[in-house]
Amino acid sequence: MTTDQITAAGAVVDVMVGVGPRRARLLRKNKMRVPDPVHVRSVIDTGAGISGFAGRVFRQLELPPVGTIHILTPSTPADQPKECPLYDVTLYLVAGGAPRPVLESQVIAAEGWQPGKDEGIEGLLGRDILAFSTLQYMGLDRTFTLAFRDCDPSLFG
């Protein structure tokens, strides 16, 4: 669970994105290095149907896609969704300085972030991930709380 101030960018959380558990197990089985999870400052967005992170995250993880998904953005015509790669990842929530795995999910790569600006945000947590959480947005207090169920870290490889 993390509780933090609502900033100008909104409800911003620190997460880490790692390779999915099945790939991690396979890499270990083949005595190959499992890339370290990548830190991504992300904003919670209940308007997003899927979560996405900067392309650099997937490059650092040396992660190939496992599927594709049709995506609509503010600039795509409603009848012409884009087909984008889908990546299987483990998501870690960073709370109290320690990352804790919270779920496996399939997410997309997104660009258009502004390094050094926008509070360093390079990720967006959408309803696909929020569906497994409890989110309290206390606008009057300018705080929010995001919590996930406790789960067994060994499930994540």
Binding site: A48, P64, G67, I71, T73, P85, W113, L124
Partner: protein, 80 residues
Amino acid sequence: MELDREVSTFRRVLPTLLADPAKRGLFALVHGDQVAGVYDSFDAALEAGYERFGLDPFLVKEVTEHEEPKYFPRNINPCP
């Protein structure tokens, strides 16, 4: 885009898969030019993909006539 070959294969075989009502709504596992199997869930197909193809590329895709797009309120270009 990575998986171009698998996506082409899926598009080619989709009409055949859809012709079988029992396969609608299931998840196809595609490797290269072949559909390697059809599974009840995305997770099951993913598990099978790693078991059968290891670190080689594979595609998991729902067998459906109309894929409902997801909304993402940021630009996504360029897709890697």
